[in-house]
């Protein structure tokens, strides 16, 4: 006959082992996901050897909800799609730098940029489809202003670099997505325009019919 206290001790130890095993398994899964999210397996055509050129980046600031155009020297590939992707990666990498005015977590953000003929436009103009990574979307700060600034920053930068493109649409991991991080819609297409913006103050005159 096994004493009662030994049985209690035995089952307590078994429970502890199982709990520790489950905890270990969950930790491994989370670490695996984190590594996969940060692993940029898709190579960009290396612009080594290409001369740097001046590009216009539309940088956002959370403090005053502004978008400011600044110039930078970046080496870019010649293919338009790869060029747009490298440009957006460079733009979004600025937000991961310490002291950024619009902080976004570092890591790969753009999977592909496709430039397609615009079916709604009979004459000129193409449409850009930006395929974002889910790791970027999942880690993006959630909020109307923060998400709008990111989208306007991308739109303005693409407008400056690709004047022949008239419209942009967004996908996430190749699939349509409702919002960027719960607020700004990704279900619609956006016209490519100059998105330089300063905070607008309310005015008395604008309240009258």
């Amino acid at each position: 006959m096994i004493p009662r206290y030994q049985r209690i001790l035995f089952w307590s130890l078994v429970s502890g082992i199982l709990l520790m095993g489950a905890f270990l398994l969950r930790g491994c899964q989370q670490a695996h996901k984190r590594l996969i999210a940060l692993n940029n397996a898709t190579p960009i055509a290396a612009p080594t050897g290409a001369a740097t050129e001046e590009v216009t980046l539309y940088l956002a600031s959370d403090a005053d909800a502004s978008i400011t155009a600044t110039t930078a020297q970046v080496a870019l590939p010649q293919d338009p799609g790869l060029r747009a992707r490298a440009l957006l990666e460079h733009l979004l990498a600025q937000y991961a730098l310490p002291g950024s005015a619009h902080p976004i977590q570092s890591g790969p953000a753009v999977d592909d940029v496709f430039l397609l003929p615009n079916p709604a436009d009979t004459g000129k103009g193409r449409i850009a489809v930006v395929n974002l990574r889910s790791s970027f979307v999942d880690n993006h700060p959630s909020g109307v202003e923060a998400e709008l600034l990111t989208l306007n920053s991308i739109i303005g930068t693409l407008h400056a670099a690709l004047p022949e493109v008239s419209e942009v649409r967004f996908l996430v991991d190749g699939q349509p997505h409702d919002t960027l991080a719960g607020h700004a819609s990704l279900a619609r297409s956006y016209p490519l325009t100059d998105t330089t913006a300063r905070a607008v103050a309310p005015s008395e005159a604008a309240t009258k019919p």
Binding site: D62, E145, D178, A184, S185, A187, V200, P202, T207, P209
Partner: protein
Amino acid sequence: MIQRPSPNALAASLLLLAAVPCSGAQTPAASAPPTATAPTQAAPQPAAPAPPRTLPAFYRNLILLDPAHGGSDTGAHLPDNATEKGVTLSFAQRLRSIIAAQGFTVVSTRDTDPPADLPADQRAGTANHVRPLACILLHATATGSGVHIASSALTPLDDATPPRALPWQTAQAASLPISLRLANEIGLALQNAHLPVVLLRASVPPIDNLICPAVAIELAPSSDTPVTDATYQQHIAEAIASALASFRTHNAPPPAATPAPTPPPAPKPIPPAAAPAPSTATPGAPK
């Protein structure tokens, strides 16, 4: 159990809603000229059916609040382990009582945390069905500062006359000028309350699908005051309520205050003796 209408059904209902005010109040029977009846036909006629009442474009004392997120959709994660869905709900309840004190009736898309997600189309369907004076979408964030007021990023309609049917995806375009006035009205009230304000244009679901004047109001921290602070929320809610009252005064004055249209002069009745005799008007009649 909440029945979710399909997007197609919602689109169809919106098309109907948009078509009603444009079709006019008069039915063909009601607009037909009255037919002359002979004195001998003065027998009691069956009562003609009353023309259907036209639904108003909006109810001037009705406000719709939409606390964003809910269910498994928690929204943004805020400091102190708060979630956006909880902050928007508590702020909506606070705002509701203050708005009601201004003489408004308040309808909310959710009063509790629902067990399932509330789709954007369902929120828009509720808002479009009740025809409020204004639709206020409530959000909260941990980034930025002050209060962010967003109107739809759609392009306003060029044509002054509203179309007979509104596409679901761009229904807000017809109301956008009024929505911009509402955003400015709320922005001014917040500014007068010494709160930092940022006006934005953003497509925040379901704002593009609404036919009412609509703005999204996002609460952000203000100089180390978190959005969960009750005093801060109260301050914002009071400013919004006063702005809504001002918006109602400017854009939807009470019926007694509106000048009544001048009625056309009533035709003078012609006495039977003065009326021309049929014989004189009929050529060839025997004299």
